[in-house]
């Protein structure tokens, strides 16, 4: 565009709506349809619930510091246990993933917003009621059947709380489904014309897989919960064996959602780490297509492994064989990803930023959780350690190692983009060390406890388990403390941190090619892809590449 054309612009034309404006802090408390506002709303809400769920966990660990139920009564413990699990899964990890997806997908694919902005806002505003509903149940009659809510236990204990629990999950699940519809439509239909699927950042691939899983599996959980609600409220006997019902059917329906759900929790972070590592290691991602397609493989296989949660539920042998094999097979695409990340790090110019540290912590802890997962897939071993602390150790390595480290990593990496301010790296490292040490101290002893036969979900235990439980409790206090530097760092940096440049990490994906924080509607003009998402250190070849390609070689 030339200067003459500029002058020809009529003086009376309205000012470019939205472009260049920034958000007021009050916008974050409104029904706003901007995907960036909604993304931050999701993330902050999720983090608040993470604090609440963490407080429950700390109370439980305090109780478990001694064999006797002296800190809280067993009834209170059961309520804490149920709410801890439910809050962490449905109100922390799922909304945190949705928050990242909301913020990043449109920016990464060069869209101005999500496909259905209003639906997006509706989906977010279902999360706070769902959470408040769930937490309120604690004050009436806490649900105490665990986050799995197996009947007949869930039909006989804490019935009022159980009803509220069902209501809360139905609301949260609906929000999740509406979000998935939005993500799928946005990714599949709204990419800039120059971006084929195979040039998408890997985060978008992983959200494609996640959204597919949400869309297919969450409704089945809704079906199970509706039937459970009938049993609870209308006196039917779908799942109550005393009335001729079949509780195993509930388990099948529940795990048909809740096993894929662990991939719903962790796949967004698989995508995020695939975007973080190449930037901070200054190398192209190793095996782009392998990592992209393995997300799809995980989401397909994730749908056919659910009964490995039910090896002790009287499942017939052929079913055990089938689900044992599929469960072991799903380690393959996951291993492909881990291999790709490690190979990307190999001989990279690794910058040990807080984001990179959390990425490394993610790989290390997730790997341990993955290996114990393969152990648990073996039927005889699973029957041996079923319902012991070994299982607790396994899924905390996967979920804490995958999801919590992943979310922290994503926050450190994208914070400059979201807020326009840099976070403090020193306190970021302190935060990492505390989290990493606390996490391993808390959950590593649980492997041993489980192998020795300590049952999970019980407020009291035999005295010979005391020592390792004390270690775990100390670890959990370190974890609780570890969040303090993070909160102070995040709040202080948001207010007073040094201003972030548009592209502080010299990254190539599209979200970094706009201002920090991005203007309303994201881009001045829709970007055109000039490079692949991870072409670090490949250099600029003058004869082949257009001159505006990088301006200069992208430094390795």
């Amino acid at each position: 565009m030339t200067q003459t054309e500029l002058k020809a612009t009529p003086a009376s034309s309205p000012p470019p709506h939205g472009h260049g404006e920034t958000r007021k802090w009050t916008d974050y408390f409104t029904f706003c349809t901007d995907h960036k506002v909604i993304g931050i709303q999701y993330l902050v809400t999720a983090f608040v619930f993470y604090m609440i769920g963490g407080a429950f966990a700390t109370a439980m660990r305090t109780e478990l510091a001694t064999p006797d139920p002296d800190f809280v009564t067993p009834d209170v413990y059961n309520g804490l246990l149920t709410l801890h699990g439910t809050v962490m899964l449905f109100l922390w990890i799922v909304p945190a993933g949705a928050g990242l997806a909301n913020y990043l997908i449109p920016l990464m694919i060069g869209a101005r917003d999500m496909a259905f902005p209003k639906l997006n806002a509706i989906a977010f505003w279902m999360i706070p009621p769902s959470g408040i509903l769930l937490l309120s149940s604690y004050f009436f009659e806490p649900p105490s059947a665990g986050w799995t809510s197996y009947p007949p236990l869930s039909l006989t204990t804490g019935q009022l709380g159980e009803g509220i629990w069902i209501m809360s999950i139905l609301v949260g699940g609906t929000a999740s489904i509406l979000g998935a519809i939005n993500f799928l439509t946005t990714i599949l239909r709204m990419r800039v014309p120059s971006m084929p699927l195979t040039s998408m950042p890997l985060f978008c691939w992983s959200m494609l897989a996640t959204s597919f899983l949400i869309l297919v599996s969450t409704p089945v959980l809704a079906g199970a919960l509706i039937l459970l609600a009938f049993d609870l409220l209308a006196g039917t006997n779908f799942f109550n064996p005393t009335g001729g019902g079949n509780p195993i059917v509930y388990q099948h329906m529940f795990w048909f959602y809740s096993h894929p759900a662990v991939y719903i929790f962790v796949l967004p972070l698989f995508g995020a780490i695939s975007d973080v590592i190449p930037v901070h290691a200054r190398k192209p991602i190793f095996g782009y297509r392998a990592i992209a397609y393995s997300s799809l493989a995980i989401s397909f296989l994730g749908l056919i492994v659910w009964a490995h949660h039910m090896f002790t539920s009287g499942t017939p042998p052929w079913m055990r064989m089938f689900f044992m094999i599929t469960t072991m097979v799903i380690a393959v695409p996951t291993g492909v990803k881990v291999f790709g990340w490690v190979a990307t790090l190999w001989r990279g110019k690794i910058a040990y930023t807080s984001a990179m540290l959390f990425a490394l912590g993610f790989i290390a802890t997730f790997l341990i959780g993955g290996i114990s997962g393969v152990m648990l897939a073996a039927v005889p071993f699973d029957i041996h350690v079923h319902d012991t602390y070994f299982v607790v150790a396994h899924f905390h390595y996967v979920l804490f190692g995958g999801a919590v480290f992943g979310v922290y990593m994503a926050v450190y990496h994208w914070f400059p983009k979201m807020t326009g301010r840099m976070m403090n790296e020193f306190w970021g490292r302190i935060h990492f060390v505390l989290t990493f040490v606390g996490m391993n101290l808390t959950f590593m002893p649980m492997h041993e406890l489980g192998m020795r036969g300590m049952n999970r979900r019980i407020a009291l235990y035999d005295p010979q388990f005391t020592d390792l439980n004390v270690v775990a409790t100390v670890g959990s206090y370190i974890l609780a403390v570890s969040t303090i530097p993070f909160i102070i760092n995040a709040v202080w940096s948001w207010l007073y941190g040094p201003e972030a440049p548009a592209n502080p990490w010299r990254a190539l994906t599209l979200e970094w090619q706009t201002t920090s924080p991005p203007m309303i509607e994201n881009f001045e003009e829709l970007p055109v892809l000039k490079t692949g998402p991870y072409d670090y250190g490949l250099g600029y070849i003058p004869d082949r590449d257009p001159p505006e390609l990088y301006g200069e070689e992208v430094p390795a």
Binding site: M1, E5, L6, T9, P10, S13, P14, P15, P16, H17, H19, G20, A115, F116, L119, I177, A180, I181, N182, L184, T185, L188, R189, M190, L215, V216, T218, P219, V220, A222, G223, I226, L227, F230, A234, G235, T236, N237, F238, G243, G244, G245, N246, I248, V249, M253, F256, A502, N503, W512, Q513, T514, E524, E525, P527, K530, E548, L549, Y550, G551
Partner: protein, 205 residues
């Protein structure tokens, strides 16, 4: 903007000018989104149908001893009404593509009436059944499945009434803009297909 050849202020003006000359086009993704929603809906029904089959396969006797026989004639007629209504609602789609709003309204009215007849027929059947919601496992699944489907029929009728209400305004629907009609039609076909499976499972098998 990193690596961009154009100066920032130029780009800014470019957008302003563009939006003044021809407002940005927003391609319509609503049908795509609705189809995804129906995928999710069909998974609820798939879950409930699988639960029904699981209950049935594990039970020593199905339906449990003492369950009164289901009458097939009335639900059979009801099924025919619902299936034909799918053809009727398709006429509305053809009509609006010819810009014939009056015909569209007529076909939608007929479809909504057929849906209402179906619901009344179902309520009539409920009131004459000899078992209640909590009689046994078969009775519970019967009421849960047909009731959940009936709820969907009811929502479908509401969608059609909403379309009729909006179509009073001239030019609200035309051959260029008829998403509401298409959505109601797709939803109705979905409800119809679900009923066929449900009817086979509960009454025939």
């Amino acid at each position: 903007m990193q690596g961009s050849a154009v100066d920032t202020s130029d780009a800014m003006m470019g957008v302003a000018q563009e939006s003044a000359a021809h407002p940005e086009e927003h391609p319509d993704h609503r049908v795509f989104g609705l189809i995804l929603f129906l995928v999710a809906e069909s998974m609820i029904f798939a879950g409930l149908f699988s639960a029904y089959l699981a209950f049935r396969l594990v039970a020593p006797e199905w339906p449990p001893a003492g369950t009164p026989e289901l009458e097939v004639l009335l639900p059979g007629v009801n099924t025919l009404i619902l299936i034909s209504s799918s053809f009727v609602i398709h006429q509305a789609d053809s009509a609006i593509k010819k810009n014939d709003v009056a015909a569209m309204q007529r076909w939608f009215g007929i479809t909504a009436a057929m849906g209402a007849v179906f619901l009344v027929g179902q309520l009539y059947e409920y009131s004459h059944l000899e078992f209640g919601l909590t009689t046994n496992l078969f009775a519970s699944t019967f009421y849960a499945l047909t009731g959940f489907h009936g709820l969907h029929v009811f929502v479908g009728i509401l969608l059609m009434l909403a379309v009729l209400w909006r179509s009073r305004q001239a030019n609200h629907y035309s051959k260029e803009e008829y998403f509401g009609i298409e959505a109601a039609e797709l939803y109705w076909h979905f409800v119809d297909v679900v009923w066929i499976i449900l009817f086979l499972l509960l009454y025939i098998l």
